[in-house]
Amino acid sequence: MLLIKNGRVVDPAGRTDAALDVLLDGERIAQVSANVSAPGAEIFDAKGLVVAPGFIDLHCHLREPGQELSETIETGTRAAARGGFTAVCCMPNTQPVNDSASVTRGIVERAAAGSVRVWPIGAASLGSKGEALAEIASMKDAGIVAVSDDGKPIATARLMRQVMDYCRALDLPVIDHCEDPTLIAGGVMREGPTSVKLGLKGIPAQSETICAGRDVELAALTGARFHIAHMSTLGSLEYVRFAKRAGMRVTCEVTPHHFTLTDEDVHYNTNYKMNPPLASRADREALIQGLADGSVDAIATDHAPHHPASKDVEFDRAPFGVMGFETALGLGLSELVRPGKISLMRLVELFTTGPARVLGLERKIEAGEPADLTIFSTEHEWTYRAAESPSKSRNTPFDGRAFRGAAMATIVGGRVVYRRQAAASAS
């Protein structure tokens, strides 16, 4: 038994924000109320800390199987635990691609030794090649929570329609990396004044928006649950708003780097290169507005580790992607909550009940629920050092950044899988 005492429970499911104790018994929550006493229970003093439902990351790359130089399930989930995540959804663009039940089972088996829960996302098409449907129903039996050909868009409207039809019947969300490849045409950053000044090939915002529009139309046609991955433009957001108003089951996520940085920050630094690329200031403002007004359902990291040597190259030759687990909460606090853009409750929602709903799950701090909790401080001051990350990669634009607020303990199934040393805190 573990008794979390003196904490401030923030639970978006019941709009709870109160001083409550939480008693965990094995893998479940046993009791939530003021002044719980449980003789013999181990005590976790959460004084001054927020006790939230366990954070869920809808979008990450754990690189296993096949790209273990960059990350493994073991190292990636340790980094996730440090960021406060209790469950992470790993994209299928591994080697081999997670497009069959056997690959899914391999990931699930390996994940048993990981620090946090791993919920695999299956490929939509075989090999994510955009030709034939992957073994979606079999993968669902093996444990996938959604399908996506992330890294590339689902190539044609015809295939997307088939995927959506098939997944509607299976009640699986379809996640698309929205992008019109013919408009990207070798682009490496968002098209705009900065790309023109730097002489880097630009990717127009419309390459995302056109595909988002197509997919929303197909979601209307099929009635499927459709989710836009790492949404980065106002245009896509408007399609989501349209779909939500129409009562469609359309959702979307935004990454911390897209609500924190813009294309103006690039300066040929490959740690600022990801796809979709950093957006314009206006798009960033729109995304923050969407996070605030409820149009955006989740913050997802798109944690995309790349081996250091692969990023230590010319900008246009570097792979797309940046790490994200360990800095997501700190950026949410510093970029969204502290400037007054959103409430703390809303931030917690974007990390917990929001992503849970996308997956058709509930997330709440209540007796009988799984004992997955994220305990964080809004005040703890620390500096992110990529070199100290448990991840195998170092590709972050936030190395050396000072943060206020951090996950202090991550609890998965009643087990404390990460605890931050408070000694480092500037008290």
């Binding site: 045409a185 070798g186 098209e191 705009g192 004044p193 790309s195 023109v196 000044k197 730097l198 002489g199 880097l200 090939k201 040929y268 040597a309 230590d312 190259v313 010319e314 900008f315 246009d316 030759r317």
Partner: protein, 323 residues
């Protein structure tokens, strides 16, 4: 002024004073090119690495000649024959060069930002000889020297740039440079190569669709090469380009009578420029080439030689000695 300049990565970060200083320092080297014995001992014992990761003839020869005339030795790396073909990374290649202890490195690369990437990782001065579609700072400086010579000053000209501006590092360096000297720019070319964002490169930029309108009142006309190797989108038919955008003698009449015509080379006669114009009295094309030597000598002298800004000029000393 130039003492604080460790590398030459682009024109964008230079001040008016730094640019003027470089041009002033180039001046005696210009005279020097006419001397029968074109060899100084100024950089004797120094080595300049010429790392050309992208094919180049004129810029490479110009830098090599500039180094030779200053007395420096050169190490040559050419894309076609280098270990890059064997998959070596840029970082490993330049570190290997650096291990041979050159005193400076001149880099040409097809990736925008590659010289900055190298400068952040090596201890020696880096001179950008053209990076992707980003900058070609020595071209900007030699164009400025040509303009200052032919027009008497650098400030306040109406500058018309013709062609594929989006993919042109020459256009960017020139816009950064002349923009600091109050130029009014008129950009003209096929619209997909002249995006609105180019207006952010300098304070006073307009875009026009018709070459006739673009040339009206121009003091300087810069003709760009059509960069077929950098164009990913379907290319324009050559006939359409010639008909709509070629700088002809007739069209040049619309510019100021004393307008100066520049082209960074290599020119494709009969495509972007008519031979009569290229070889005509208003053309500064061959002076640009000679001035390129002078500018590159000045830069190597200061960046590789580490000469203080107020040191007596080596080419002047030499002329005095010869008198």
């Amino acid at each position: 002024m130039l003492d604080r300049l460790q590398h030459l990565l682009g024109i964008e970060g230079l001040t008016r004073e730094q640019i003027t200083f470089i041009l002033d320092q180039s001046k005696p080297f210009q005279e020097f090119q006419r001397h029968p014995l074109k060899k100084l001992a100024t950089l004797r014992g120094k080595t300049v690495a010429l790392a050309f990761f992208e094919p180049s003839t004129r810029t490479r020869i110009s830098f090599a000649t500039a180094a030779a005339r200053l007395g420096a030795d050169t190490m040559n790396l050419q894309a076609e024959s280098s270990s890059l073909k064997k998959g070596e990374s840029l970082l490993d290649t330049v570190r290997t060069l650096e291990a041979m202890r050159p005193d400076g490195i001149v880099i040409r690369h097809s990736s925008s930002g590659a010289p900055q990437f190298v400068a952040e990782r090596l201890e020696i001065p880096v001179l950008n000889a053209g990076d992707g579609a980003h900058e070609h700072p020595t071209q900007g400086l030699l164009d400025a020297l040509t303009i200052r010579d032919r027009k008497g000053k650098l400030d306040g000209w109406n500058v018309t740039i013709l062609g594929d501006i989006l993919h042109s590092r020459v256009a960017r360096s020139n816009m950064h440079l002349l923009g600091k000297f109050g130029a009014k720019f008129t950009l003209c070319g096929p619209a997909m190569w002249v995006p609105r964002e180019l207006e952010c490169l300098a304070p006073n930029v307009r875009r026009v669709a018709r070459i006739e309108e673009a040339l009206d009142g121009a003091d300087i006309v810069m003709v760009l090469r059509v960069q077929t190797e950098r164009i990913h989108e379907p290319a324009l038919a050559a006939e359409e380009y010639i008909l709509q955008y070629q700088l002809t003698e007739e069209r040049l009449q619309l510019a100021r009578p004393d307008a100066l015509v520049l082209h960074p080379g290599p020119i494709i006669r009969g495509l972007e420029i008519d031979s009569v114009v290229a070889d005509g009295p208003q053309s500064g094309i061959l002076e640009q080439v000679t001035n390129g030597l002078a500018v590159r000598m000045a830069l190597l002298y200061h960046l590789v030689g580490g000469a203080p800004a107020d040191a007596p000029h080596p080419a002047k000393e030499r002329s005095n000695a010869a008198d």
